[in-house]
């Protein structure tokens, strides 16, 4: 067996262990771990099945199945990163809206407090 599939197998297993440990320690939320676990399991499946890898190599027109593995691994992780970018953008938008809303509410509460203090003073 080529060295690269072995490395990819070890990498996939390592990734699964790291993600599961992180979820257990609540460093990563379960919903955020799903993308990484699916990516790692897909890679693990491909590295352990030469037939599947050969089929994919033929499908995408790459003669060498090891090169096909690298291409698939790159594509899978790009997809995961893209999904994370989407999440990050959504979170940033929410964060900005919440920050603005909080500041506006605080401004209005302070204005009301000042108005209610005025007659007493």
């Amino acid at each position: 067996m080529d060295r690269l599939p072995l490395i990819m197998t070890a990498f996939s297993i390592g990734l699964i262990v790291v993600i599961l440990v992180s979820v257990r320690r609540e460093h990563i939320r379960v919903e955020s771990s799903v993308s990484w676990l699916v990516a790692a399991i897909v890679l693990l499946g491909l590295t352990s099945s030469e037939a599947a890898l050969g089929h994919i190599a033929t499908l995408i027109g790459i003669a060498d199945s090891v090169s096909a593995l690298l291409v698939v691994a790159g594509a899978v992780f790009l997809a995961v990163l893209y999904r994370l970018s989407l999440k990050l953008s959504q979170l940033k938008d929410s964060n900005i809206a919440l920050t603005q809303q909080l500041a506006i509410l605080e401004f209005r509460v302070n204005s009301l407090n000042e108005k209610t203090k005025e007659p007493a003073g």
């Binding site: 900005i96 920050t99 909080l102 500041a103 204005s111």
Partner: protein
Amino acid sequence: MVLIPALNEEGAIGRVVTEVREVLPGVDVLVVDDCSTDSTRNHAKAAGASVLALPHHLGLGGAVQAGYRLAFELGYDYVVRVDGDGQHDPRDIPRVLEVLKRGDCEMVIGSRFKEEGGEHSGAIRALGIFFFRAVLRPILGKPVHDPTSGFVGVNRTALALFSRSFPLEYPEIEALVVLQRKRFRFVEVPCKMRPRTTGKSSISGFKSLYYIVHVLLGVFVNVLKFEGRRK
């Protein structure tokens, strides 16, 4: 309302607020403090401004939009934004308001290039402005002399739009494209820029390159989003 976004401008903000209040007595002045680490908000309050204090640093666009949102919620019809560093001369604000109140445009830009000797910007910035003028000309369908100007007045229609959607970083140029997308009109009026006396520009050195790439991408994305563009 006069809106002044500020980040660590304790050396200038008091004077800016005071000057604005002298030129426009009775007009509300709102300083949006973008989570300054100095005493910007205290100086602004002491000078007589209301302060909208952001609990986290949002960047210029986020700060300006927060001010627009508050102004819209409070029912203001016109908002003029000036920078907190004192480079804009508040005596130009009435001219911006006058054009806005005529009602033939939704946004008025105070342009340092509409008047001889009005400009006060470095060589790199001037080059960037020249570049973006050329980029924006075909998109906007008319020339814009000072697309990076932070001296901007908007009426309630534009305020409604910007309170919902406003570019976050380096917003001035993208805001023009957003306006064009909605078929809103803008007019430029001459204004004077004064040299900065305290603090330093947020766009310098390597950030200039990042600024160009970021804004170009923002313009491109906004052009792709065009809905109902004038045929």
